[in-house]
Symmetry: C2
Subunit: 268 residues, 2 copies
Amino acid sequence: MSEAIGFIGLGLLGLPMATNLVDAGHSLRVYNRTASKAAPLVARGVPLVTRAVDAVTTGGVVVSVLWDDAALESVVTGDGFLEKLGPDGVHVSMSTVLPETARRIAALHARHGCTYVEAPVFGRPEAAVARKLWIPFAGAPAGRERARPLLEAMGAQGIFDFGDAVGAATVVKLAGNFLIISAARSLGEALSLADKSGVDARAVVEMLTTTLFPAPIYQSYGKMIADKTVPFTQSQIPKKDLGLFLRTAEQVDSPAPLSSQLYDLVSR
Amino acid sequence: MSEAIGFIGLGLLGLPMATNLVDAGHSLRVYNRTASKAAPLVARGVPLVTRAVDAVTTGGVVVSVLWDDAALESVVTGDGFLEKLGPDGVHVSMSTVLPETARRIAALHARHGCTYVEAPVFGRPEAAVARKLWIPFAGAPAGRERARPLLEAMGAQGIFDFGDAVGAATVVKLAGNFLIISAARSLGEALSLADKSGVDARAVVEMLTTTLFPAPIYQSYGKMIADKTVPFTQSQIPKKDLGLFLRTAEQVDSPAPLSSQLYDLVSR
């Protein structure tokens, strides 16, 4: 069934995901703070609205893919957003935020009779285009049921159900991003030792990623580091997401010696 | 062709590797500092000698699997070991040591006309029994050629050739062990965050090791950590091998912020 969907946030990840929805035959109304980024969709006849709330259909589904907690909070609390979404409305929130932010915003939704489903995304923009995203999700059962086919249409190759309690999927996302950053930086340190010892880093990557570490993360970062092509981008994502990991670890009293060290490294 | 082999070091890894050689039809003479550990081989008729040098056949192959640099150095420099090994003799050295130790000992061998092949081992004792070891190796071509079939017989499922220069395979081993320890400790930190946030760590492992990290290291450590069964053993190996990584990094002026942090962690 094709569903009318509001889509808020057409960044590097949001735009290809919205495009996948359009390709799947869904009717979208889109909003982005920088309107010009919607051009590829507008060219295909997708209506672009000037306020986030105008993307919302009462009782419908609205998807958001935003940069951080503040952006998400500002969309949800502004302009009568939740009042318009109303009873039976579902907000599929795909931003990476603090679990406590997700829980607080979910409670706000409940007070308006609507449902907050968290569905943070693992995958780079190319993976969204290639429909190779991995998505953990959590929230009330009816909301998850409605979200699932849309997540598939957005480009998920796998969806992982973490149950009713909002916050769980966000914890998984923070844990996963920390592991990705740790793997990438550890590879950098290991391959630097090889390189500076006169050992061909490409041969080391070839061995390790066909034996102990046959995982896409190790293969792709290993190749980039060995080839000295963009070993670490200027992306702000590692710093932001490690910051969220650390704040959450502090809140739940979980040890964080490696994430702290990684945060220092990516902040340099 | 079955070859007469001296085998020095019947520890947790050495014993199953020596057993594999016997199973493959090779004639061994074995030595171990603690003689009693040779009992399973002695019971099968394998001669146990009382000095390392007595395991050596002139012009033959001698294999050593020892705990550290000092043990390797003591075997090689003691009792006329190299004089007896002599021209055409090959020493297949499978201990994890400093690359500089490997190079220095290789030069000592060369002075006696014999060949030092380094072939440090990736794999736990169970992997040796199951013939699932991964072995990088380096050294003079003739020595490597003679070592290869023996490494296969010892239980290698893959052998990776790092060329003529001794030290290269040892660097690969140190880099790989650092990555293993980093992955395991990072998983511990990620799964602790999940657990303390009330998220089922088993479900997190299940998702992450079938998506981003489909690698044996993540799967086995992830399961152990989630099940709270022996998350980190009392093994001295991580501390020893991270120490070797750090000393080598210092020597070649390679950055080591994560290996330093991990060394602190495993030293607690």
